[in-house]
Amino acid sequence: MIEFINVDKVYQNNVKALQNINLQIDKGEFVAVIGLSGAGKSTLIRCINRMHDISQGQLIVDGVEVGKLKGKEVRKFRRRIGMIFQSFNLITRTTVLNNVLVSFVPELSYIRKLTGFFSKEHKIKALTALDQVGILDKAYVRVDQLSGGQQQRVALARTLAQNPDIILADEPIASLDPVTSKQVMDDFQRINREMGISVIMNIHHVEVALEYAERIIGVREGQVVFDGKAAEVTAEILDYIYKGKAEEILENLEGEEAYV
């Protein structure tokens, strides 16, 4: 269970990215976070596995207060949380399998770490993860030869191999075409349902969010402005989540005089 209690996040440049967030996400939920660009979605997600430190408040994951963790504990804590990025963040110039195997690196003995030889069990685990996202046949292909959707699946497999309790996904389908998007979203859904892994996902595609997520969190200017079942989301709510800025943009476009 993830719990945000009065969480604030201020970046060094004094940008208030999150303000007074209170949230509670249960195990096994599929949550979509929506909102305009710059609303603070990425910040919200990244605080969970402490890629960013929060400035104020408490963030408790499965009873552990994240902010209190130190050095090694942080790394150990992160191993339980998978993270998927918009740009896949794979190691280029190496094979799919190697990319998945990376998730075992922290468990390796010192010598294996240096030489980069993985045991057969690890290989089988990694291959199983690839099988779960349906790209087992690409195991020995270099990742740069895969399409975007396939690359995202590799990232997904890498995360699955980690055997996480929670998956955080930061716009996982933003650079994918709709068909591939659908496949990747189906994967997420399956993983969520079959393995009971919580999924918290930032997403720009509202219609996709509504289709797949059970729960929607709307973020606007660093604040949670909506939190409810996907089925409850109406056009007005969307308008409310997105409105502030949409108008601004339009205004900008129709500005009478343009300056450089």
Binding site: K120, I124, L127, T128, D131, L136, Y140
Partner: protein
């Protein structure tokens, strides 16, 4: 081939599926490299012990270079300027002449295998021709002195920049080139508008790198009478006057540093 000799390993997965893992090529590559190393060491009498034992002798010449002979400085100016002049002229003209050759050698722009290959072989031949040979021939055609050096540098620059440039062109994004073609431009116009700006920063920095290299190479060209600071360097070495050699090298290093700084400036501007 390889896979036939070393059949892929089967990995049995718990859910019954099997995956064929190709045998890694790494051992083969390592064996090849080891064999290469072994033969090279044999052929060249490479002996690490000798380095350990006599390594200190390496520094003797350097020690003699320090401190450099400052009085030598006035003798250096004119030949240094000659060297810079011929490197500059040769590099500028060479880099410019490299553009059409690189254009012809790029398979993504000129879609003719014959032309591509011809241009590439030309560049490759030019690159293989040792600078000393070209410089020597040039001294007969253009007389002893800096013009011959300039020609040798021109040819070298042409071949070096030409090769790197065509590689960059081939790696350039073709999207904008396509867009230019859809605007009704000819290939060369589209190249000028879409590809050239993309490769420009790299082209400039390659050319400047080459210019800088040429200033240093010009030091060797003096050997065949192609003028420049090489004569002076040769004389210093001949007389075992390493303090003067040190002075020349110091001045050269400062020149190289200046060129590199300028080069950085423009690259930052452009990228």
């Amino acid at each position: 081939m390889y896979d036939k000799i070393f059949p892929p390993k089967k990995i049995q997965m718990p859910n019954g599926k099997t995956v064929l893992e190709k045998r890694s090529r790494t051992p083969l590559v390592i064996i090849l490299i080891m064999a290469g190393l072994f033969f090279s060491i044999e052929l060249t009498n490479f002996d690490i012990n000798q380095i350990i034992k006599n390594g200190y002798k390496f520094y003797m010449i350097i020690e003699e270079m320090i401190p450099p002979k400052w009085e030598h400085l006035p003798n250096i100016w004119t030949p240094l300027m000659d060297t810079i002049k011929m490197s500059l002229l040769g590099s500028v003209l060479g880099s410019l002449a490299a553009i059409p050759f690189a254009y012809l050698a790029s398979s993504n722009i000129v879609k003719s295998n014959v032309i591509n290959t011809a241009a590439r072989i030309f560049l490759s031949l030019l690159r293989t021709m040792p600078a000393l040979v070209t410089a020597l021939i040039a001294t007969f055609v253009f007389g002893l002195g800096t013009l011959a050096g300039t020609v040798a540098i021109f040819l070298f620059t042409l071949s070096y920049v030409g090769k790197l440039l065509y590689e960059q062109i081939e790696n350039a994004g073709m999207g904008s080139f396509e867009a230019m073609e859809s605007l009704g431009m000819t290939k060369s116009q589209a190249f000028r508008q879409a590809i050239f700006p993309q490769v420009l920063p790299n082209y400039l920095s390659t050319s400047l790198f080459c210019f800088e290299g040429n200033v240093r190479h010009a030091a060797i060209l003096g050997y065949v009478g192609a003028g420049g600071i090489g004569l002076l360097l040769d004389e210093g070495i001949g007389w075992r006057d390493y303090a003067s050699v040190g002075m020349i090298l110091l001045v050269l290093a400062i020149t190289v540093f200046a060129i590199e700084t300028v080069s950085e400036h423009f690259r930052k501007k452009l990228v």
